[in-house]
Amino acid sequence: MIESVRTASLSDKLDGVSQRLARLTDRACVVLLVLLVLDVWLGVFARYVWPLPITFMEEAARYLMIWVALLAVSSCIAKREHIGMQMLFVMLPASARRVLLALVDALGLVFFLLLLFYGIGMVERGARVSTMIYGISKQLPFAAVPVSAALAVVQLALVAWRDQLRLSANRDLVVCP
């Protein structure tokens, strides 16, 4: 009894940390998305309404879009929103589902860890490359890959641990990868 209460309390704590991290990430995404919208509006304004000598809009928009999308990858993990083919998974017995979920989450961690590890190398290489239009170092746009991969690793670890605890407490629960 005490053990199950501890398990539930720990899984709630993990869920709380995961949701807080997702909310913070969402806020960052919203700020960047607002900047992206304003940037493209400025581009449209400068092209059709009041010709302005601004050239950075297209490049800034592309990199803002990449940052928004990749940061959002980790907050989607918090609610397991990434699409998969779960038709066979849900047909499996509960014990097999739990093992498979752990395996799939572990492989997901491997994917994001590899992206993080090699992504850091890409950012280092980015110091020697400049963007086409604005001429700034490509480190800033490239950093979206390792930063989002690091966030994804943390989120996936939290979510995987949380769900394993939940499944140990309630065998009938169905959690898809």
Partner: protein
């Protein structure tokens, strides 16, 4: 090659998210080249480069514009207009559902958005009027695929960006097939009317009633006209038009309809970011496996595999459609498009298809698979929104499915159906 194929299939079947599956399988492929793993350093470069396209920007903007318009209560106004126009027929609400789907298609680029919006509003209203719930869901599912066929369409943005095909041309080419789907589905409803004892329609509205309904939904009808006019007229790129659509939707939602608060806006921005995150992870990861496939000349091998079966273009088209519909029954269509488009597009060029025509054929085949069990996304959305079982919806769906397959065959084998409008605007070869 076997290692990559096995990794991909096994991970996909056990339920791993498609974004991770594609990335991991691609990394296994990179590792196997030369055996030293030195190509793995390229994985994040490909991941980043897969997203570094300006045309992709249209997608989050269209998602955001659709979200704002939907939150503004525009769905109810469009349904009101459709009901005023065709609600008096037998099976009137089913006809209204279909017509409203066409109008909603100009605001939203995704079928699931249409299915969710109408599943929440029209399905309960239809059930209240005496339609069965499975039939109401089936009509909504059939109508929802008009959304990504009539522009704006996220699938067309993805296809055009990845394959270097004019997004404006694809948008123009989707108009007639989208309208045709609506017409054939309305014909199916009319044909089933007496046999399935569909309820009689409401009283025929007066001209004044129609004009009032038209005035109520005018703001929503202006948006697609504005988007299409700007793109097809060559005035704005799809991305610019999409950003103008966001501006317009925001002005309507905040100042005209006064239904969108700052808190709503925050929620909509979060939803837009998350939907974009899910799709872009798949695109970025597909770029890793795409590099491996190009390195090993897999698309060419698959194309020549097809051509060994037959070199008759009609047979090749039939094979492509069969492949898309069969795999589409089990896989998310965004992922499927991203994986298969680079393989199938060169094949369509080999048999002499126009790139815009081929793009619409592929997009429409995938759209139809949105409503085929077991993994039809629109069926899932409707089942979760209405509480109806997928099997029961599927039983009522087959007449619509057959009709839409007929439209797909027309699109595939009659290029003029898709290319007439793009040609008018100089967006496809004469």
């Amino acid at each position: 090659m076997i290692a990559v194929g096995l990794t991909f299939l096994v991970l996909l079947i056990v339920g791993m998210p498609i974004g991770y599956t594609l990335g991991l399988a691609g990394m296994v492929g990179m590792f196997t080249i030369g055996g030293s793993g030195r190509y793995l350093t390229m994985a994040p470069d490909r991941f980043f480069a897969g997203l570094d396209l300006f045309t992709f920007l249209a997608m989050p903007f269209f998602i955001l514009a659709g979200e704002i318009m939907n939150r503004s209560g525009i769905t109810d106004r469009l349904i009101g207009l459709a009901d005023a126009l065709v609600g008096y027929l037998r099976g009137g609400m089913a006809h209204s559902n279909m017509l409203a789907s066409v109008m909603f298609a100009g605001l939203s680029g995704a079928a699931t958005a249409d299915a969710a919006a109408f599943g929440n509003t029209l399905v309960p209203a239809m059930v209240k009027k005496g339609y069965t719930r499975p039939f109401s869901c089936a009509v909504t599912a059939a109508g929802s695929i008009i959304g990504p066929t009539i522009p704006p369409s996220n699938l067309m943005v993805i296809y055009g960006s990845l394959m270097g095909v004019s997004v404006a041309g694809l948008f123009a080419a989707g108009i007639l097939p989208g309208l045709l789907i609506c017409l054939v589905c309305m014909a199916v409803i009319a044909a089933l009317g007496r046999r399935w004892k569909l309820p009689k329609g409401s009283a025929r509205p007066s001209l004044r009633g129609i004009l009032i309904a038209f005035k109520d939904s005018l703001a929503a009808l202006v948006m697609p006209a504005m988007i299409l006019g700007a793109i097809l007229g060559g005035v704005a790129t799809p991305t610019e038009a999409a950003s103008i659509a966001v501006f317009y939707a925001l002005m309507m939602g905040v100042f005209v309809y006064r239904k969108v608060s700052m808190l709503d806006l925050y929620d909509m921005l979060v939803r837009t970011a998350r939907i974009t995150g899910v799709i872009f992870l798949i695109i970025a990861s597909a770029s890793i496996i795409g590099w491996w496939m190009t390195f090993n000349q897999i698309p060419q091998a698959i194309a020549s595999g097809f051509l060994t079966i037959s070199d008759n273009p009609a047979v090749i088209i039939a094979l492509i459609l069969a492949l898309l519909l069969a795999i589409g029954m089990f896989m998310d269509i965004n992922a499927l498009l991203i994986i298969l488009a680079p393989v199938l597009a060169p094949l369509t060029l080999t048999i002499g298809m126009d790139p815009v025509h081929a793009g619409i054929m592929i997009v429409l085949a995938l759209n139809i698979s949105l409503m085929t069990p077991p993994v039809g996304a629109c069926l899932f959305v409707l089942a979760s929104v209405t509480g109806e079982k997928i099997e029961r919806i599927a039983k009522s769906l087959w007449p619509f499915l057959l009709a839409q397959l007929g439209v797909l065959l027309l699109v595939a084998y009659w290029p003029d159906l898709t290319l007439t409008i793009p040609r008018l605007f100089g967006l496809a070869a004469q």
